[in-house]
């Protein structure tokens, strides 16, 4: 009986792309990564969500063998981070926050170079580069220097360079930061195609909708620690109640509306940032319907209302006690 349990445990470990225990990285006095545990299954998209300076990039750099941890241990596909760097490097690929390509070279030259460094022969390297440029919609830009590319094209050629040989694990550090919606969708399509082919993806993002859209599981990171982990639904559940938003036609009605809502919902109602809206945390949709009806009865005009589970934004705010947009000044993050 015990043997079965052990076998099952082994099977689940073999399913893991990344297993980390107590990872720590210290820069000077700043604990950039402060005891991170991870268990990421093969074939999933895993999202690190957090503000600037939270330790997302540092964690990725530890896992990609670019930094040595000051504490803890990790295995990538069962290979030890300390001792089996070469094994790990032949399975992973990294697209950093800043373009990890030579901007003075053309897109074609960059991809041929990477393909050659991956071990392709000259002719095969050229064919592979051409194929990728076509697939990424960059064939027209193949002969232009990357420094003349738009942000979206740069990002795409960067990701193309990462999948010259399809990696088993791809690290993407803020893959869509600063991209327009169209380019962002293209990058998302690429990520989905990779996952379909079996690649595990670990991405960092500051955008909640990106984590929501792409990631199977999300770790919310703040000040070097994982403060919450789960699917996007689980994270929203964990915060509990839904949020009611009511926008009034006239701002003068706000106090009156607040009194009515508080009475009907028996919860605390807040003024929202703009001068005509109110928000409240409620669970019961029937009570919400009743309260809205009461507003109408009292002659308070409502221009719009929404009721639903909290957005990841609200989850983040609740978990960290500060918003996602907060800029912290840990410059180590950028190194």
């Amino acid at each position: 009986m015990r043997r079965v349990a052990e076998a099952m445990h082994e099977a689940s470990t073999a399913d893991l792309a990344i297993k980390a225990t107590g990872l720590v990285k210290i820069f000077g006095k700043h604990r950039a990564v402060d005891g991170v545990d991870l268990a990421i299954r093969k074939g999933m998209v895993y999202g690190f969500l957090g503000p600037n300076g939270a330790g997302k990039t540092t964690t990725i750099r530890l896992l990609a063998t670019l930094l040595k941890p000051d504490g803890g241990s990790a295995e990538i596909f069962g290979h030890d981070l300390h001792r089996e760097g070469d094994e790990i490097r032949s399975r992973i690929s990294l697209t950093g926050q800043y373009a990890s390509i030579d901007e003075d070279l053309t897109g074609m030259e960059n991809l041929v170079m990477i393909a050659r460094l991956m071990g392709y022969a000259r002719r095969e390297a050229k064919m592979r580069a051409e194929e990728l440029l076509r697939a990424f919609g960059l064939e027209d830009a193949a002969k232009r220097q990357v420094k003349n590319y738009s942000g979206g094209m740069r990002r795409r050629v960067d990701i193309a360079a990462s999948i010259v040989v399809t990696p088993e694990l791809l690290f993407l550090d803020e893959p869509t930061a600063g991209l327009d919606p169209r380019s962002r969708n293209q990058v998302w399509d690429i990520i989905r195609a990779l996952v379909k082919a079996g690649t595990t993806v670990l991405l960092t993002t500051q955008y909640l909708d990106e984590a929501d859209q792409l990631a199977d599981r999300i770790a919310v990171i703040d000040q070097g620690k994982i403060i919450a982990e789960g699917t996007s639904s689980e994270l929203k559940e964990s915060v509990g109640s839904g949020t009611l938003n009511v926008q009034l036609l006239n701002g003068e009605d706000r106090s009156r509306a607040m009194a009515i809502l508080e009475e009907k919902l028996s919860v605390h109602v807040q003024f929202a940032a703009d001068s005509t809206s109110l928000t409240a945390q409620v669970n019961d949709s029937f009570m919400v319907a009743g309260a809205l009806g009461e507003l109408a009865k009292q002659g308070i005009a409502v221009t719009s209302f929404s009721f639903g589970r909290p957005s990841l934004d609200e989850v983040f705010l609740k978990l960290t006690g500060h918003g996602t947009a907060q800029e912290t000044d840990h410059k180590e993050e950028a190194i």
Partner: protein, 280 residues
Amino acid sequence: MTGYIEQTEKDARELRLDESIASSSRPKPPSALSSTMTFAHRALLRIKHVPEQMFDVTVFPVIFLLMFTYLFGGAIAGSTAEYLQFLLPGILVMTVSQITMYTGIDLNNDIRKGIFDRFRTLPIWLPSALIGSLLVDVVRYSLASFIMIILGYALGFRPEGGMAGILGAIGLILIFSFSLSWIWTVCGLIVRSEKALMMISFMVLFPLTFVSNVFVDPKTLPAWLESFVDVNPISILATAVRGAMHGTVTFQQVVMVLFVSLIMTAIFAPITIYLYRNKK
């Protein structure tokens, strides 16, 4: 209708994407030689795309040679033609030594941009990234040397060592410069900005190249300075290069250059590789 066309275009793109991912194979990692040549090729492509970077090996030598020949020639040796015979080998050493620092600057730029991270996550023999670009630098140094010697010849430089002497002298300069480059790669890996790196290399190279026997015979110097000049690696190289060009080089002078080069490489190449591997 347009919606339909857009949809089929999107499908076609997705299909190409899926195919390109599926058609990926994992070849055997490249040999050290192959990856070194790829990095050398990268350096050549960079020259092709950014030809301005060749100023340091084309314009620099010309300016330096003209400037110092005509500025100091009359005062130091009585005539520019005579001074040129003494100066050219030294100024060649000085010019090439000074442009070695660009190796460190290129590396520093790679680190600050993301490409350094990509190279480090590739399954390659890491030193090849450095050796590849150093090899192309050797080509650049040769170019600087030939430009200076041809210009010198036009100005009246007549080496007595002949072609063999000139080639031997250039060979010594290349070996020395390749070794000296490792110091700048170490600095390039430690220093944060390009500016700081420029400053450090000027602080080292300026005194080292001027307080040497490049411009004057050290016998005219005060004793304490003369003893420094005598052990200055730049002087050691300049002496051997001058000797080779004029056919008076001794075995001991050549060995000294090789010895200094070996020491620099033995100390700074491993440090460079260590830092490259373990950079934060």
